[in-house]
């Protein structure tokens, strides 16, 4: 691998989700030079894939894309997508040595116009990870319609090297000779905004995810409700039927010791309530039932939002779903104890959505050399002073923003990013201990 020295920046922001974007923009607007490194093809994080946000039902993409564009165009921000931070070493105060690997996307970013000609000719179809496997995509593809940079990439693991895309590309942007490049840089401060992972419901075989096609995750439903949705309506994947009796299973992978995640994910109650309301709009005749343990509607306007869902006719049933079985027609039987009556019940639904929880994304801790970036007992980045200075980590000069420090919703992530960027700015001026 070639190694290049690419100079220095004031701040390195790891992660291009909503928290990283906010932190980077704050610092850049103060005049600091920021490098943002995103491991995915596009920035925007999880939020850019969402439909609406709670409790205001504002369009998620409409809120996040202006920030995404601003990050991409800001003169003080350099953006590395499809790149990974491999090493961060603190050599002194305001002096970090960083190694970043820029992985090959086999498309020359500067030349690609995003015309999608390559997509049309590519013969390979695989699951589209940006539609959470609900539909397919090509092996050469624009990640998603509002991706930034809106540049094609070749999924080399599935590419058959037929060369059709190379022939058809009007800009001559396809380059199969690209190789990974390692860059060494120096930065003066680091903001970790690596976000979270979603719980994989395959780990609860009782719920039948992966076996029963009409058991889907909340992110898959989120896609079905988004403006850039795959089916252009809400369908159940098993047979394409429009569902009319939909169930939500809360606390899938949250508050559950058996999967090693005993804490509340903080967002599932509210996003499920939000989706229920959106479904009522998309499918006015559908019944929606939310099976919950406790509804945690703790933020501003959340409880009113919950009451609004009740008023709209969303049914709330207290009881944890213990087991899901499939009927021959693809409908699902949910077995639970109705806590209100204390009786075991079985309910039939034609689509089940598992409201999956939020898990830590702690691989980033392994790139820190010398000083350890500590994690808490749930593997989130440990906040050294959780109450008084929540952005501080175990390494002075490294700050944490957003859900990397624990489950939180979008407004909290943005506030957390604000705190991290303020702390980083203070550290850069040298006044802050």
């Amino acid at each position: 691998m070639n190694t290049m020295n690419k100079g220095s920046y004031d701040a390195l922001v790891i992660g291009g989700g909503i928290a990283g974007e906010e932190a980077a923009l704050n610092l850049a607007n103060m005049g600091y030079r920021v490098l943002m490194v995103e491991k995915d093809y596009s920035i925007g994080g999880k939020m850019i894939h969402l439909s609406k946000v709670f409790p205001t039902l504002d369009c998620a993409a409409c809120i996040t894309t202006p920030k995404v564009s601003e990050v991409a165009r800001h003169p003080n921000i350099s953006l590395y997508t499809y790149s990974e931070v491999k090493e961060v070493k603190k050599t002194g105060e305001r002096d970090f040595h960083v190694k970043v690997v820029r992985k090959p996307r086999y498309v020359i970013e500067e030349l690609c116009t995003g015309c999608e000609e390559c997509e049309r000719v590519c013969p390979v179809v695989v699951n589209d990870q940006y539609q959470w496997d609900l539909v397919g995509r090509k092996a050469v593809f624009i990640p998603f319609s509002i991706a930034n940079p809106r540049v094609a990439a070749i999924d080399i693991d599935h590419c058959v090297l037929c060369g059709l895309c190379e022939k058809v590309c009007p800009a001559g942007a396809i380059d199969f000779t690209q190789k990974a490049v390692e860059e060494t840089l120096t930065v003066r401060t680091v903001i970790v905004a690596t976000g979270y992972r979603l719980f994989d419901p395959l780990r609860i075989p009782r719920y039948g995810f992966g076996r029963f096609p009409n058991v889907i995750t909340s992110m898959q439903m989120e896609r079905q409700l988004a403006p850039t949705r795959p089916y252009n309506t809400v369908l159940r994947p098993g047979d394409g039927k429009v569902p009319d009796n939909i169930a939500y299973v809360l606390c899938t992978g949250s508050r559950d010791h058996t999967v090693g995640n005993p804490i509340c994910s903080q967002v599932c109650c509210m996003y499920s309530i939000k989706q229920a309301q959106l479904i009522m709009g998309a499918l006015p005749m559908a019944d929606v039932t939310i099976y919950y343990l406790h509804i945690r509607a703790f933020g501003k306007g959340f409880c009113e939002f919950y009451q609004q869902a009740k008023g709209m006719g969303v049914e709330f049933v207290k009881g944890k779903i213990a087991r899901i079985t499939e009927k021959e027609n693809g409908n699902l039987i949910l077995r639970y104890e109705d806590i209100e009556s204390g009786k075991v019940r079985e309910a039939e639904h034609d689509l089940v959505i598992l409201s999956v929880g939020v898990l830590s994304n702690d691989e980033i801790t392994s790139v820190f050399r010398g000083d350890t970036l500590e994690t808490d007992e749930y593997r989130f980045i440990r906040q050294k002073e959780e109450l008084s200075s929540p952005a501080l980590t175990s390494i002075r000069g490294v700050f944490v923003a957003g859900a990397a420090s624990g489950p939180m919703d979008i407004p909290d992530s943005i506030m957390s990013a604000g705190a991290a960027s303020s702390e980083a700015a203070a550290y850069l001026t040298g006044d802050r201990k």
Partner: protein, 376 residues
């Protein structure tokens, strides 16, 4: 009716072996994940509530306690690791201790050294008693010089009578409590047919373990991937029917005298087969309790060891004797083995009311009442 909350009951339950039920957050996963719960039978969450509130009477009048075969699925999947299955087991120990009137069970279940001491003392007493049946042996003569024959003999008989009374008292107490909790106690002629049907359904369950077989039926459960002869219900079936078979064989032997020399004698054949069955089940059960493949077997209490150990020892010594008799081996060792075998068998009978064995009385009663609610 006013309900008095007794938080100290939760503390007491810890002495019967339940520890973590305080962690429960009332999600109902345990109740719903159980293959045996249905319409009118909802456990274990209900029992956790009873325990935390200290509703002793509700617990003692719950047939649900005995509807559970402890497959452990509730404990495996409990999101709070509150171990509801173990609480059910502890509550059964608690119930055994409280139905039985003498207080002996209450004493020994909560105190392991006392349990061992009691078992050993009983063994000595039964050993002595056994010698009164063989007064011509030299050991017997030596003992009877020190303690009069009548004292030992009557003490032994007294122990049996005492056990019998407490056992029946226990069952009677349970029936009284379960009757009291029934919702619709119908009158008139129809109730006899109903009772008969409920009784028959109970017998069917005892004979076939139909309900027990419903445990471990989902592929994510450990024993669902095992063949039937390695599953808990079969272990239970073989130990139970092995024991009953041996009981019958021993009675027949006793009635028709000295057929022990003939291996092909029907009662001997029955004894051999039943013995093999029981030994197979007991060995497998002990094996699982040592290997602990699932949560059920992770907290084996002394009461479990004593009961299973006795069954296993009784089986092993029994076969040793059968071989010894068949091969014509007449040694002191064989006599000692015979003594151990008989003492253990007698202990099993005597401990009936004071051990895990008592469930053999209590579970059918609960099944009967459960069927009564069900059949029309």
């Amino acid at each position: 009716m006013a309900t008095k909350v007794r938080p100290e009951l939760a503390k007491e339950l810890k002495r019967y072996g339940a520890d973590d039920f305080n962690a429960c957050y009332n999600c109902g996963n345990c109740t719903a994940v159980c293959n045996l719960t249905e319409g009118n039978e909802n456990f274990p969450r209900m029992m956790i509530r009873y325990t935390l509130l200290g509703l002793k009477e509700e617990i003692l009048s719950s047939r649900e306690l005995w509807m559970c075969y402890y497959c452990g699925e509730c404990s495996e999947t409990c999101p709070r690791e509150a171990d509801p299955g173990e609480l059910m087991a502890a509550l059964r120990r608690y119930a055994i201790a409280h139905y039985e009137p003498s207080g002996i069970t209450r004493l020994i279940f909560r105190n392991n050294p006392l349990y061992i001491l009691f078992t050993l003392l009983l063994a000595v007493l039964l050993g002595f008693f056994l010698l009164t049946l063989k007064p011509e042996m030299s050991v017997s003569r030596w003992i009877f010089e020190r303690i009069p024959y009548e004292v030992i003999h009557n003490l032994g008989l007294g122990a049996f009578v005492f056990m019998g009374i407490t056992a029946f008292w226990g069952v009677f107490t349970m029936i009284r409590k379960l009757r009291g909790k029934r919702v619709n106690q119908e009158q008139g002629k129809g109730r006899f047919t109903k009772a008969w049907n409920a009784f028959r359904a109970m017998l069917r369950e005892v004979a076939t373990m139909e309900r027990y077989r419903k445990c471990d039926t989902y592929e994510d459960e450990y024993f669902a991937r095992k063949p039937w002869y390695l599953r808990p219900w079969w272990i239970h079936w073989s130990v139970m029917w092995g024991f009953i078979g041996l009981l019958v064989a021993t009675t027949l032997d006793f009635l028709f005298k000295d057929p022990a020399t003939m291996v092909w004698w029907p009662s001997r054949v029955l004894g051999t087969l039943a013995g093999l069955l029981m030994l197979y089940g007991a060995t497998l059960a002990l094996f699982y309790r040592i290997l602990r493949p699932v949560k059920t077997y992770q907290s084996t209490k002394l009461a479990d060891w004593v009961f299973l150990g006795f069954i296993w020892l009784a089986g092993i010594t029994g076969f040793w004797m059968e071989i010894a008799v068949f091969a014509g081996i007449e040694t002191d060792f064989s006599q000692i083995v015979f003594l151990i075998h008989t003492v253990i068998s007698m202990e099993l009978v005597i401990l009936f009311a004071y051990s895990k064995f008592a469930h053999a009385f209590y579970r059918p009663v609960a099944l009967y009442f459960s069927n009564l609610e069900r059949v029309n």
